[in-house]
């Protein structure tokens, strides 16, 4: 029996039917067609499916679709405002912090979550915060640098 769920995704109301075993990742990708959230492992080990659930960073493959009733999910599709990129998105581009790009949405969501609670992280803090996100292409260097650059620019602007 499918469950009828009402929730908010990227501040928009959504409703869907889901099997009890469907993950939030399945729902986002297959029901809501928000394919920017990626599957890399399905076991919470790679962070490619990172989303915000009620402003908390989660792996959407570890959350069930039927747990979302009345709750709010933020995905990569909501990160830019129309054609204005988030500073992290812009800095990732400027610094070539992506190669294949499959892990990038997860890194961006996780990095934004860090800067929201810690606008002045050390390199170690960035590295440990992002330790749940796997990237196999870049060796992390340019990703870490981009997050530090955005944090530094944010301090200058504030």
């Amino acid at each position: 029996m499918k469950l009828h769920i009402n929730a908010f995704v990227n501040d928009e109301p959504v409703e869907y039917l889901c099997d009890p075993e469907d993950t939030l990742l399945d729902i986002l990708r297959d029901e809501l067609h928000l394919t920017g959230t990626k599957e890399g492992c399905g076991s919470g080990d790679c962070g490619a499916c990172s989303v915000m659930l009620d402003n908390r960073l989660v792996c959407s493959c570890l959350v069930l679709g039927c747990e979302i009733e009345g709750r709010s999910v933020d995905t990569i599709e909501g990160m830019a405002f129309a054609d204005k990129l988030h500073p992290l998105q812009q800095k990732f581009l400027e610094n070539a912090a992506l190669q294949c790009g499959i892990c990038t949405p997860g890194f961006l969501i996780a990095a934004r979550a860090l800067l929201d609670i810690n606008p002045d992280p050390s390199e170690s803090e960035v590295r440990y915060w992002l330790a749940g996100n796997l990237c196999r292409c870049t060796g992390y260097d340019k990703i870490i640098q981009s997050v530090l650059d955005v944090a530094a620019a944010g301090r200058e602007n504030s």
Binding site: D19, E21, R29, L34, T35, G36, T37, K38, E39, G40, C41, G42, S43, D45, C46, A48, T75, I76, E77, M79, A80, L85, Q89, F92, L93, E94, N95, A96, L98, Q99, C100, G101, I102, C103, T104, P105, L108, E123, S124, V126, R127, Y128, L130, A131, G132, N133, L134, C135, R136, C137, T138, G139, Y140, D141, K142, I143, I144, Q145
Partner: protein, 754 residues
């Protein structure tokens, strides 16, 4: 040519053309594509390392509502042994067919035996659970040395070792023997005053791309098929599917989706032919996506190895001879890159006498696949460890020892040719100058260096450059962009045309929309496809000057091209006309302006790299922390330096993972124990420091901008560099990778007991 950089775009760092799509989630990877009415395909896989399939019963599965098709090896055409190779070259399509669907035996845990297509994943999973398979479990062998024993369980009783005369009388797991001799090794060792020799082992490691293999296939009643997938080559997918399923190439159109990492692992097919079979049988589009567990157990890791090597030198450090035996795990079917290991191990050095023997050995593990500089890292680990041991024995600086023996222009490479313009010495000198090399070290810390070599390749490449009516350009190529190659193609086209980089749109076309190109691999795309782009853009420039000549009514020889403008003296006056203005007039000067180049690029310049690694060893736990890392490489000419740095950084970190943590762990029953990212431990951000890079530019004279391939060299040196650093930090040398905490701790304790 000179590197005097009068370039406007080459060597700059613009934002990649596909960048915005990839930071906003809009980029479409293989699993992101769907068609209406699509079925979900899943594969049934062997739980045993080695077993005979006695029977399979699909009746219960077929009775489940929503199950639309089931296929097994009987649905695959049988490829005759004499037709196994195309043009006498690997891959072996008989093996590939069996690897895709086991016929009578399964040869490893995860070997596919059947596939189901159903209206939902849930129903497909349910169907897999109801397929009854009867197995006769057979003795298995997963270790390469055990597999070479005369009484080892045989994967095939029809396999006789090739490369041995006379042909052996008994079948063997040793698929082939390769021998590479230079000079007189016996004489070389007779001249040696010191020798070092050792045994080394390395474990299989997975390419570890984050994107799971996925595809969607459909096929019409007329036999015309479409495949949407991510791979390192849409033309490879088309050719392999056609051969395996006995179809015409013209019946298959492969649409390349964005690829979420490959590193060599996506240079073959796993799902695509199966999805086509299911689509044909069901009459519906079929989508398939592997789980991470399937990626680990059923797609190619890099070979594990067992290597013995010996090095002889004079007291002044001149290496006089090397010899070695390299045994590589091929996995369930032959084809490990052991030959490439023999060819590359000592290529950075001018050693007059060498004898290396390679054995390609089948074991009950997934068939190995290419992984970045296939075959080189494990051989280089052994070679670079020995060179470090030699330096210690002679009391020489390891960098000076390498410099003393370094290959230069004119050096006879151990695998045949003489090197032309190469930049190995320059990487060593850059290492010596780098502040990292003289930075102070604390207690339990050590510094290692190592070098690596890769051939780089050219190959068949196509490009077209179309000038739009407003003077912008579209560059079309046939190679998946695996790490920023669209940016490189656009830069090179902008440079030749003399227009703004932002006016160039690079497109990666499907197999029916552009001419054939070899796959993305061998560090060839920026070099070879880039060469095609440059030639196509030059073709366009020739047309533009012709059009300008006709508009000015002057002979074409009097028109030159500079910075996006045609220049000439017309009736005594200096005149110029922009590309945009010429494009706007194209209708009255002969129609659309477009250039093409279809080439088989030759002259890829070999690449050399030298890495410096500092580690700290915790003597109480055996944990190794990488403190500082510098990757130095001759890149010829960096078209987009940020993405070149990224290749060096990413390759270095994959090599660090290979050296310290990553390995396939098998239990006694031949099952892989660590089938997920939690237990198969790839490096994460908190394991690492920043990875510094130095781009040495010794131009490759056979590329218009001096490009050498860069993607593969960076994974070779880290294994040796890390091992050498650990040896100096702990006083204990580990000969078996990975240097995981338990292994290093055991080595430290063993030394303490002594």
């Amino acid at each position: 040519m000179s590197t005097s950089d009068n370039f406007k775009w080459v060597g700059s760092r613009p934002i990649r053309p596909d960048g915005v799509d990839k930071v906003t989630g809009r980029a479409s990877f293989a699993a992101d594509f769907s068609l209406p009415g699509t079925l979900h395909g899943l594969i049934l896989r062997s739980p045993y390392a080695h077993a005979r399939i006695l029977s399979m019963d699909f009746s219960k599965a077929l009775a489940i509502p929503g199950v639309k098709a089931i296929v097994c090896a009987k649905d695959m055409p049988v490829i005759a042994a004499e037709a196994a190779l195309v043009g006498g070259q690997p891959p072996d399509f008989c093996d590939m067919s069996e690897n895709l669907m086991a016929r009578d035996k399964v040869l490893y845990e995860g070997h596919a035996i059947a596939a189901v297509a159903a209206t939902s994943k849930k129903i497909a999973r349910q169907a897999l659970d109801t397929i009854a398979v009867e197995y006769q479990v057979l003795p298995h062998v997963t270790d390469v040395q055990s597999a070479m024993e005369p009484n080892a369980p045989l994967l095939s009783d029809k396999r006789y070792t090739q490369g041995i005369e006379p042909r052996p009388r008994k079948p063997s797991n040793i698929a082939s023997r390769y021998e590479q001799i230079l000079g007189d090794p016996v004489q070389g060792f007779a001249e040696a005053e010191v020798t070092v020799s050792e045994e080394f082992t390395t474990q299989p490691v997975h390419q570890g791309y984050i994107e799971l293999h996925a595809c969607t296939a459909q096929i019409g009643a007329d036999g015309q098929a479409q495949i949407w997938c991510s791979s390192q080559g849409q033309f490879m997918i088309r050719a392999y599917c056609a051969k395996l399923l006995n179809m015409d190439i013209s019946q298959i159109r492969v649409i390349p989706m964005e690829i979420g990492g490959g590193f060599g692992g996506k240079t073959t097919v796993y799902l695509e032919p199966i999805a086509l079979l299911l689509a044909r049988k069901s009459g519906r589009p079929v989508k398939m996506q592997m789980t991470r567990q399937e990626v680990f157990t059923s797609t190619g890791p890099a070979s594990g190895s067992y290597i013995t090597m010996k090095l002889g030198a004079r007291k002044d450090g001149t290496i006089t001879a090397v010899e070695g035996i390299l045994c590589y795990q091929a996995g369930a079917y032959p084809g490990s890159p052991v030959r490439l290991g023999c060819m590359t191990a000592f290529a950075p050095y001018d050693i007059p006498n060498s004898k290396l023997i390679g054995y390609d050995v089948v074991v009950n593990r997934p068939k190995s696949a290419a992984y970045r500089a296939p075959g080189a890292p494990m051989a280089s680990f052994a070679a670079e460890s020995l060179i470090d041991m030699l330096a210690a024995k002679l009391g020489m600086c390891p960098l000076e020892l390498r410099l003393k023996n370094a290959a230069k222009m004119g050096t006879q490479a151990p695998y045949g040719p003489k090197f032309r313009e190469i930049g190995y010495v320059e990487t060593l000198e850059a290492a010596r100058r780098h502040p990292h090399y003289s930075a102070p070290l604390g207690p339990n810390q050590g510094r290692g260096i190592a070098s690596g070599f890769w051939f780089n390749i050219g190959g068949q490449s196509s490009a077209s450059v179309n000038i739009n009516e407003d003077g912008t350009a579209v560059v079309t190529t046939g190679n998946p962009d695996i790490g920023g190659s669209r940016a490189s193609m656009a830069i090179m086209a902008a440079e030749v045309l003399g227009i703004d980089y932002k006016k160039v749109t690079p497109v990666i076309a499907d197999t029916s929309s552009t001419a054939y190109s070899d796959l993305t691999g061998g560090s060839r795309v920026t070099f070879a496809v880039g060469m095609a782009v440059v030639e196509a853009a030059r073709d366009v420039v020739a047309q533009l000057t012709t059009r300008a000549a006709s508009l000015w009514d002057v002979p074409v020889e009097e028109v030159s091209w500079l910075d996006g403008h045609a220049l000439a003296r017309v009736q005594g006056q200096a005149q110029q006309m922009s590309l945009q203005a010429i494009a706007a007039e194209s209708a009255r000067t002969g129609g659309p302006i477009a250039g093409n180049a279809n080439i088989n690029a030759q002259g890829a310049g070999p690449g050399f790299g030298t890495h410096i690694c500092d580690v700290e060893v915790d003597p109480e736990t055996g944990r190794v922390t990488v403190l500082r890392y510098t990757a130095i490489q001759d890149v010829g000419k960096a078209i987009h330096p940020a993405y070149v740095e990224g290749q060096l950084q990413g390759g270095a970190v994959q090599g660090i993972g290979w050296a310290l943590n990553e390995e396939y762990i098998y239990d006694e029953s031949g099952n892989m124990s660590n089938q997920g990212f939690l237990d198969y431990r790839m490096p994460v951000a908190s394991d690492l420091p920043m990875i510094d890079t130095v781009l040495v530019e010794v131009p490759n004279p056979r590329h218009p901008f001096g490009v050498r391939g860069v993607g593969e060299v960076p994974i070779i040196a880290p294994l040796g560099a890390v091992a050498n650093a650990v040896a100096r930090a702990s006083g204990v040398r580990v000969f078996d990778l990975p240097i995981s905490p338990p292994r290093l701790l055991a080595a430290i304790r063993k030394k303490q007991v002594r």
